[in-house]
């Protein structure tokens, strides 16, 4: 009979496994805070966006739209499109949380960011070969998600507080791309996955001119199709 870590053990393990990602997230949160103030948003609205939207890349785009005084509908539609990928994360974790009470589903859904998914999703993938995985895995998910949430709020606040004192020449916004590189490249272990990443990357560059970051969705669809095609071809 194997023994599992309890709720507390799973929660702390989730927190701990999220920590390395904070190296990319914290500078990005700070640069978001700086850009938000810079775009003309007040400190309160800048900070509020981090808790109500809670999605780094979307918030980044919103600061650009605020600067251009984009209409409300455009802002809402853009956030929706940029965050559409979270529906796919939702589908990916859904089978593992389907047995949980509603309050758990609501909390974990709120915390389902790229970085939380990277940690929780790979945990579920690691458990794939385990006959009887831990019954407390949702605590691990909660630990990872909460750690990311807390550091996002704090780094945003730091950026809002520091404002113009963070020089542009530090290029802190580059940390977003680096975090995603760190998440993606270790997973490129087979041809089909590599094709998905490559296909999406190429289309993203070709479609950069589409309005409202629509190129992102087109690129994602192209990447998924490329992955499926290569998988079928290799089979």
């Amino acid at each position: 009979m194997s023994t599992f870590p309890g709720r507390r053990g799973e929660l702390l393990a989730g927190c701990k496994d999220e920590l390395p990602l904070l190296l990319g997230v914290v500078p990005f949160g700070m640069i978001y805070g700086v850009l938000a103030l810079d775009s003309g948003l007040g400190p309160l609205a800048s900070q509020a966006m981090s808790s109500v939207i809670f999605a780094g890349s979307a918030q980044f785009v919103v600061t650009q739209l605020v600067r251009e005084s984009a209409p409300a509908l455009v802002v809402v539609a853009t956030v929706f499109v940029v965050n559409l990928r979270h529906a796919l994360y939702s589908a990916s974790v859904a089978p593992y949380v389907s047995h949980l009470p509603l309050r758990w589903k609501l909390s974990l859904a709120y915390l389902l960011t790229d970085e939380a998914y990277a940690v929780a999703g790979s945990r579920y993938a690691r458990d794939a070969g385990v006959a009887a995985p831990s019954p407390y895995r949702h605590w691990y998910f909660l630990g990872a998600g909460f750690t990311l949430w807390a550091s996002w709020q704090l780094s945003t606040a730091a950026g809002v507080f520091l404002g113009a004192q963070v020089p542009r020449s530090w290029s802190l916004d580059f940390s977003l791309a680096l975090t995603f590189i760190a998440i993606v490249f270790p997973t490129l272990r087979d041809l089909a996955t590599a094709a998905a990443a490559l296909g999406a990357g190429v289309v993203a560059v070709l479609a950069f001119g589409l309005p409202y970051k629509l190129g992102l969705i087109v690129a994602a669809a192209a990447g998924i199709l490329a992955g499926l095609a290569v998988e079928r071809w290799r089979a």
Binding site: L23, G24, P27, A45, A48, M49, V52, I53, F54, A58, V62, S69, A72, V75, V76, V79, F80, R85, A87, L88, S90, A91, S92, V93, P95, S98, H99, A109, L112, D114, A118, D173, F174, S175, L176, L178, T179, F180, I181, A182, I183, V184, F185, P186, T187, A192, T193, A196, L198, A200, G201, A204, G215, L216, A219, A220, G223, I224, G227, E231
Partner: protein, 104 residues
């Protein structure tokens, strides 16, 4: 103009997106095709974001050696692939960017 109600609407939509499948799915499994497709979602979406951030500079694709971010990102990708360490990838990537920028 107050942005707060707009952010609230955008936030609710984001939350609904994240909740979508978690709320809808019962205990039954997925259609096999959807399950296979899902495996490719994270590499596809994240790679698209990376390429938009790294390759597209000042509103146009820049694939030459003059794109400092592209060089730093290539090095970071190598580090990520070899070490699987987020810590090393981000710190070496930022250090590379700052080094190349200071040399130019």
């Amino acid at each position: 103009m107050s942005w707060l109600p707009i952010f609230l609407a955008a936030g609710l939509l984001t939350f609904a997106t994240r909740l979508s499948f978690i709320a809808l799915l019962g205990h039954e499994g997925f259609p096999p095709l959807l399950k296979r497709a899902l495996r490719f979602v994270p590499p596809a979406v994240l790679s698209a974001i990376i390429c938009m951030e790294v390759v597209v500079r000042d509103g146009a694709p820049a694939l030459g050696a003059g794109n400092v971010r592209l060089l730093a990102a290539a090095l970071a990708a190598l580090v990520a692939w070899r070490t699987r360490s987020v810590l090393l990838t981000v710190s070496i990537g930022m250090a590379a960017l700052w080094t190349i920028q200071s040399l130019l």
